[in-house]
Amino acid sequence: MIQSIRNLTGNRTGKFFRSVFATSLCDLANFGGIIFICWLLYLLLNPYLGGERAQTLHLVLICCGCVAYMVVCFYASIPAYNANFVSTYNNSTRGRLKLAEHIRKLSLGFLSNLNPARVSHSMMKDFSNLENANSHIIPQLFSSLIITVTVFIGLLFYNAPLAISFFCCIPVALAVLCIVRFMGVRLSRNQMAASVEASSRLTEYITGITTIKTNNMSGSRFERLEQSLNRLRSESIRLEVTLMPFALTTMSCVGAGIGIMVMFGQYKLIHQEISVMEFLMLMIVASRSIAPFIAFSLNFMMLQYFSESGRNIGRLMSERPLPGTATELPDGNDLVLRNVSFSYEPGKKILDDVNLEIKSGSVVAVVGPSGSGKSTLVKLLARFYDPDSGSVLMGNIAEGRLTDISTIDPEKLMHRYAMVFQESYLFRGSVADNVILGKKDATSDDVRTVLKKAMVDFAGPDDTVAEEGRNFSGGERQRICIARCMLKDAPIVFLDEITSSLDVYNEFAVQKAVDELTRGKTVVMIAHRLKNIMHSDMIVVMDKGRIVDIGTHDELISRDGLYRKLWHQGGND
């Protein structure tokens, strides 16, 4: 629970506890007002039980005192609550900005795979939950706990047996709560499995509805869905009904306290071990503390839910950024992979002890069956990730001056790279806004030149780009991205063979643009259509995470190896 609180408050626990303490005092004061009421009731009843009659003036003064007390509570509470809000919102603002700054520094590989919705969900919902927890749940949790404990201890002094009779059920309730949580995990396993299955059947139904309908399978697929929903229903009922007696026990333990205390109290009254007044006062004070205890248990349960938000944020924060601080870039654009191994998940090696030398200015194509690791190879060269073992080096092979790129500041390194991959992101703004990312101080002539070279004939520099570039087709977006890279004029270009899934107009134009972009540069390309890359300076053939052959097309085709096999499979002669 401490960890939950730490997650929720972003580690500023000292200041946090001070504001919680202040609001707890206010709540305690609110509760304490019951003293006035008890006092009045005592003075009013006393004469009828053989005691003295109090003076009316006395009573009126107490009333005034009560009103004054309420006013004091009001004025004292305002700063406490405000301080709480201020610290809550400042904390969450700080937390949000810290998260954003942290994300900025993460590896390209992680960021490309990151679902943006997850980030915005954390930024919005998770931090909102934290705010709620900090401003309401946690303060109420503590204040209700303090009140309950204070009342209990106070009543203990007043009349121990009755106090115990009222509160005796609470430990029972807490014990049951713990049992429920323990058992709940086991019991809910079946229900969760049923829920997951129903969810995936539903996804299948929705995703595949076109195929389902065109194959006239609606009935049978629907039946499968219905079955899984039915199973979910019965498992859910089973879970709730099994847990029900426990949940009820908890709920009634609190209410039971009243009943038990009355039972016990009347016994003591009958046997004259306690006076009527004592019974009365105990009754009123004790029964008033039911509300705080209920508040405590409700807030305790909500805390579990909200600390999930804290964990979500924690998980994002625990992703490690890419290291590297050197700001000087190496002399030379040769690239070397030395004994590089890499896996996305432990145990599943994608690259296994790979060695490769790429001389600057050469055109390299990486080919291989799917799953061979070709895109991973290129991603490591582009520093989407750092290798698990071995190193990626840049520099001058001939003169033996190579630098490990993992020591270089990642964004500085990017000055040497231009990347054109299948998915490229365009911003809301103008075409020129997007292109100028390549070079901040480019003139509008520069922009126009690259737009022309990149075959961007469908839009002018001032035309609008909608969010994500949605107002353009895939091929058009790619050409704008190519223009952007042209403006950057980086010496090394990474390409994913991009003319797939385009219509012929786009394919033709993109091909021209790519030719312009890569003129005179070092190019590393992930290739799919072998006939397109047959003129490369060097073709790297990969299979199952290893490089199995290197050479030109003519060399490779003459060998009876994987390359020849792939060539024929691709429908080439």
Binding site: Y48, C63, C66, M70, F74, F85, T93, A100, I103, R104, L108, L111, P116, R118, S120, M123, M124, S135, L202, E204, Y205, I206, T207, G208, K213, N215, N216, S218, F222, L229, R233, E240, V241, M251, S252, I260, V262, M263, L269, V276, M283, S287, R288, I290, S370, M414, F427, R470, F472, S473, K488, T499, S501, D503, V504, E507, R519, L530, H535, Q569
Partner: protein
Amino acid sequence: MVIRLKSLGKKGISRLLEISGEKKRILIFSVFLAAVSTIIQIIPYIASYKIISLYIDSFQNSVPVDTDAVFSWGITAVVSVLVSMLFNGGSFVLSHFAAFRIIFNLRLRLAKHLATLPLGYFTRVSTGEIHKSIHDNVDLIELFISHKIPDLVMTLSGAVVVFGLYIYADWRLGLICILVYVISLLIQFRIYGDDGVKEEIKGYFRALEDINATSMEFARGIPVLKMFSMSARSFASLKKSVLAYRNFALRFARRGSRDFIIFTILVNFFIFFIYPVVIFINASNPDDYGIVLTALFFTVLSNAILPSLMNIMSISNVIMTINEGVERIDAIFAVKPLPVPANPEKPRNYAVEFDNVFFSYHDDLPDNGSGEKNTERRHCVVNGVSFRVEQGKSLAVIGRSGSGKSSILSLVARFYDADSGSVKIGGMDVRNMSESCLMDSLSIVLQKTFMFEGTIRENIVAGRSGATDEEVLNAARLARCDDIIAKYGLDYYLGGGGNNLSGGEKQRINIARAILKNAPILLLDEVSSALDAENELLLNQALTELKKNKTIIMVAHKLNSVIDADEIIMIDDGRILARGTHESLLRDSEAYRNLWDMYVSADKWRFNAGEREQ
């Protein structure tokens, strides 16, 4: 705002009850039990009051206390706790039972409704959104029905009964209590009535939404910005929205906290307000202790409803949540299903004809928010297209993306209905065919393949449930799937999405499915993906097999498909620019010649060719 909340609540809750359908009675009964349980829970408080009043009476009347009566009140207190627990349990079981059955039915009805919708709906709305509505939002409704409704009822019934008892015991004091509580509610919720505050609330929610938007853009754009060494830029706009939100939130909280504190204090102390009156009455009539006993009664009972009075705050949150969930579900029900023919007929042959067809996307289909990239669906229009494909002949449709090519395929399959003109099969409008008859006559092979959770055999068989293994293997052979069957076997179980197979393998299984189905008309979208380049040879052979003996309409991409087609139509902006055979178009259409040159050039393109030649 309170009033508005109430009217929103009616819409949300009454719609919910509508959705509940036949389980309404169980729900109402469960609610009844909850109310009874709450009322019974008040009894111990009354019991303690009774005991004390017995003692006071006995003292005043100088008679010994009726210990039996005292004892029986004690028993009553304990028993009523147990009884209330039973009623609570009963209410709990019933409400959960009803809730789960209700959402089960609701989900089925939603799924059934989805099946009647035009298939075009699913290309516009993301799977995630639909799934969220059916799965998560419905879950929220379950929570609401099984927990919140009983909760609400218990809160209200407790408060109503106690206040009722107050009025019954002494209407003057009762009125004071009610008045104080109502004033506290008005103070708490008055800020919502203020127009200035309403604007602030709107601003608050806008600021929150803004954080959502800027952080999405931040997360999406960060990879690109990093590639261009400019990641600090996007951060600035996110920072702005975060700070704006904070300012709204603080302003809002500051306004609200004062009223909230007053509310809290008034509710905590509401019972105090009867005492000045009690003191006054008692002072003017010292021998009458009735009023003091009444004050005692009021005070003891006030503790019973204190939690309920404070709980009123959560009710408004809950109502707002439920409204959102119900709205989303209704949005799905509101989408109109495809009209079904009253007297379905069968087509005489399998020629396909477009007769002056006009079509564009309508507004009743929700906007595509999923970011799907194919722009053909965006503002695509079919503008008076007419053609005829005889049975057994092939038609290639070519043109730029966004020109309307894929819409033609969609219209034949009735993914949408044409706005005007008619789409005919065998001389009969497709709207006059039953859905199953139409689907039986079509094989549709698109870019996206879909594998069911099931064996490879089941995936090839799909709708043709009577197919023998021999027929399945034959279809697989023709679709060049022998290597797949050899590697995995017909009984190999594919997970959802068929992720164990490569893209090219899935394509070939898809073609096997279409070959087995052997429908007379083939709709083919040939846009090829890089992923199956390694299977290109096999894929081409499989497609050649598929195209035998069918009426074919295809969006063509491969050179051979264009040359071999019986007729080609060139589409631009939804209109037919040119039509004819490959030879006649080469001769007569400059646009076609240009396009053909592009095809050839793209096919001949070799990367790095220029460098090599130097």
